[in-house]
């Protein structure tokens, strides 16, 4: 009854959020769909309708296919890696030892650093010429590595940097979930003789389903749309080995002045992300 009476003011309070959601999330998606069917004319700057031509030109372009491949490989590695690491970190941070608050503070430091700052920092540290990482490798008697300068190591380096930056953040949500698990449950299971591993599989994991679902979806979307490390560190190189779809879209829009094509890439990326997220929702619901 009370809710019904207040529905007007509730809506009004939600208005800024709803307006923001529409303006900054739904409208751009709709606009991208429409714009991907147009191309911009030279000289006049007028837009003309070309139907699916932008998509057609993408499907015959090897650069686009390579970029799609890189995006998928990147996500296949980074998403499970970040989720497992974040979970492990959350478990560690949840242990009841002295000064745990100190460790919880430390793990949060990379999160507090902005992505561009983190990229610039790591770029210096991974520099093949005088980076500290190579100095350490050499001091240990190993060969110096090119890292971001090599087509076989660049994507891995970016995965490492992005995970260094991201894992602590995701662990925070999982830590909150872990703290919700009643201690009595764990106590009871250990009295029943459950090993730590069994406890984890049968008690902790089922209770963590909700935060895990959130993390899985959030990590996936964040990484599919990850752009700044590639833009700042490699610009898609060496030899297009880090040229993800987001970067290819950016290049089409602002280097090749082909907005329609750029929008088409965004629409494809959106569809891929939606599909993956939909599958994840399905799996997480049926399992356990």
């Amino acid at each position: 009854m009370k809710l019904k009476k207040n529905i007007g003011s509730i809506l009004l309070f939600l208005l800024p959020t709803l307006a923001g959601l529409f303006l900054f999330k739904l409208y751009p998606i709709f606009s991208a769909l429409v714009q991907s069917l147009y191309t911009t004319q030279f000289f006049t700057g007028e837009k003309s309708f070309v139907g699916l031509q932008n998509y057609q030109s993408l499907f015959v372009d090897p650069v686009f296919w390579n970029s799609l491949k890189v995006t998928l490989v990147f996500n296949l590695i980074i998403n499970p890696l970040q989720i497992v690491l974040a979970f492990a970190l959350a478990m560690l941070l949840n242990t009841k030892i002295k000064r745990i608050a100190f460790f919880r503070g430390i793990h949060f430091v990379p999160v507090a650093v902005s992505v561009p700052t983190a990229c610039v920092l790591w770029n210096i540290m991974l520099s093949p010429e005088q980076g500290v990482v190579n100095s350490i490798l050499v001091a240990l008697g190993l060969d110096p590595q090119p890292f971001l300068g090599s087509s076989t190591q660049a994507l891995g380096s970016i995965i490492a940097i992005a995970s260094w930056k991201g894992v602590g953040y995701w662990a925070l949500f999982l830590l909150a979930g872990l703290q919700e698990i009643p201690g009595s449950l764990l106590e009871a299971s250990s009295l029943d003789g459950a090993s730590r591993w069994k406890q984890f599989i049968h008690v902790i994991l089922p209770l963590m389903k909700r935060p895990l679902t959130f993390i899985v979806v959030a990590v996936t979307t964040a990484n599919f749309l990850l752009f700044s490390p590639m833009y700042i560190l490699t610009k898609g190189g060496p030899e297009n080995s880090t040229n993800v779809l987001m970067l290819e879209s950016f290049n089409n829009a602002f280097l090749y002045s082909d907005m329609g094509r750029s929008y088409a890439i965004m629409v494809i990326l959106l569809l891929i992300t939606l599909t993956v997220v939909a599958l994840q929702f399905k799996w997480l619901r049926t399992s356990h």
Partner: protein
């Protein structure tokens, strides 16, 4: 329903409304212009007392001389304010592209790289200057400078400076190794430079480095020396040109400096000048306008001519920054005034003297030839550059798709530095470039 709400409740939902309003006005202001905010203050743009603010998108390396130019300009024109937005080179073309493709009005004057004049003209970014600046202006710049900023017989930008490259060397490193200094008037071959670089390379010191590592502007001097042409005559085909045998040979030399001869550090352009001024690099091919920086670093340095391949053509890089007015600018008159000051008036002199840049203005070029100041090191750098730009300079390829060509070539150069095979890197690049150039079919190069 709202009218039935008590006053208290009214106040309660006012807050989010206010927040929303702030949000929206905040947005519209971001895309708006300084003129909007001026007129909303009750000061119409027609009121003479209101100062016009023009926004100037500039390359950050020019901060020092341009600040002086702007100061002098504002003193003479108290009703015009110039707001400089300094952007590093890698972001400059992107910033301009993003702003102009969205028809932003908060950009009035901008740096225009010579090969991009055509690209920007084709996209309709530039306001033709013929009616905005005096008719006799064209006669005050060198003919070649005027040609490079014209498209379809219209002046699209004003030439601000030109550039050339010289070979700087660190005298202390040469002395330490007991190697005689290069002759100031004798042009070395690239082969000699490489062999010398090998002798000069030791722990913590590299024998040689380009200033513009991985950048077409500088590396074209290698392929130009071997006579390689980068694009077809209509500027729409790179396959068979940018990856021709001569081009591959020229850039193999570049790749070898890093990977086979190991005389050059694998660094980025931004780091290169610091490597030279801090004594980590013995020989450094760099633009004339870096002389003030090198001089001020206190380095004991010498200068000689730009190298060439033995038995081949002498080719030196050239290219320049010009300034143009955005088609979407709402302050074209004020912008033109500033451009005139910067490229023809007192500003041109300030830029030349403070920045050590090569001027495209005929009277300033003449002063370099006659003023005895330019006979002695370090100021002789500018006289060498002026001579090279007249006699040996080769301009960059002419195409409406220069942006696409350059960005992909730069990527290929970077890959070669990191060990990629030049033939493969260039083959990959031309595939992408030709695909991108297709859209300019029907847009003539001349």
């Amino acid at each position: 329903m709202i009218s039935k709400q008590p006053a208290k409740r009214f106040a309660a939902w006012c807050a989010p409304m206010l927040a929303a309003t702030v949000l929206f006005t905040g947005c519209s202001q971001g895309a708006g212009t300084s003129a909007d905010s001026l007129s909303s203050n009750g000061q119409g743009s027609s009121t003479p007392s209101a100062a016009t603010e023009i926004s100037f998108e500039a390359y950050s390396n020019y901060e020092k001389p341009l600040t002086k130019v702007v100061e002098a300009f504002e003193q003479q024109n108290p009703n015009i304010k110039v707001k400089m937005n300094l952007v590093p080179i890698d972001q400059l073309t992107e910033t301009i592209e993003i702003k102009l493709s969205s028809k932003a009005k908060d950009l009035d004057v901008m740096f225009v790289d010579t090969p991009l004049v055509m690209n920007y003209s084709v996209k309709g970014y530039l306001e033709p200057l013929d009616s905005l600046i005096p008719a006799d202006a064209k006669a005050k710049w060198t003919k070649s400078a005027v040609e490079t900023v014209s498209y379809k017989d219209e002046l699209m930008a004003a030439p601000m400076n030109s550039s050339s490259q010289v070979l700087y060397y660190n005298k202390d490193i040469f002395k330490k190794k007991g190697i005689p200094f290069p002759d100031a008037d004798k042009r070395m071959t690239w082969e000699e430079v490489r062999d010398l670089a090998k002798q000069l390379t030791s722990d913590n010191v590299y024998g040689f480095s380009f200033e513009q590592v991985d950048k077409a502007y500088q590396l074209l001097a290698l392929s130009d020396s071997l006579g390689a042409k980068m694009l077809s005559d209509d500027g729409l085909m790179s396959s068979g040109y940018s990856n021709s045998p001569e081009a591959v040979k020229a850039f193999q030399f570049y790749a070898d400096l890093f990977n086979k001869d190991k005389v050059s550090p694998k660094i980025k352009k931004e780091e290169s000048i610091d490597y030279f001024t801090s004594g980590k690099v013995a020989m450094f091919v760099s633009t004339n306008q870096n002389m003030p920086k090198i001089r001020d670093s206190g380095l004991n340095f010498g200068v000689t001519l730009h190298p060439y391949f033995a038995g081949q053509k002498v080719a030196t890089p050239t290219g320049a920054w010009n300034v143009g007015i955005s088609k979407y600018s709402e302050h074209k008159e004020a912008s033109a005034k500033f451009i005139e000051f910067l490229t023809l008036g007192e500003g041109a002199k300030i830029l030349f003297e403070e920045g050590g840049t090569l001027p495209p203005q005929i009277d300033l070029l003449n002063s370099i030839d006659t003023d005895p100041k330019y006979k002695q090191l370090p100021d002789n750098v500018i006289r060498i550059a002026a001579k090279e730009s007249r006699e040996t300079a080769v301009s960059r390829p002419k195409t409406p798709g220069y942006l696409e060509w350059e960005k992909n070539m730069n990527k290929a150069f970077e890959d070669m530095k990191n060990g990629a095979d030049p033939q493969k890197a260039l083959d990959d690049a031309v595939n992408v470039i030709d695909n991108q150039l297709k859209k300019y079919k029907g847009v003539a190069a001349n």
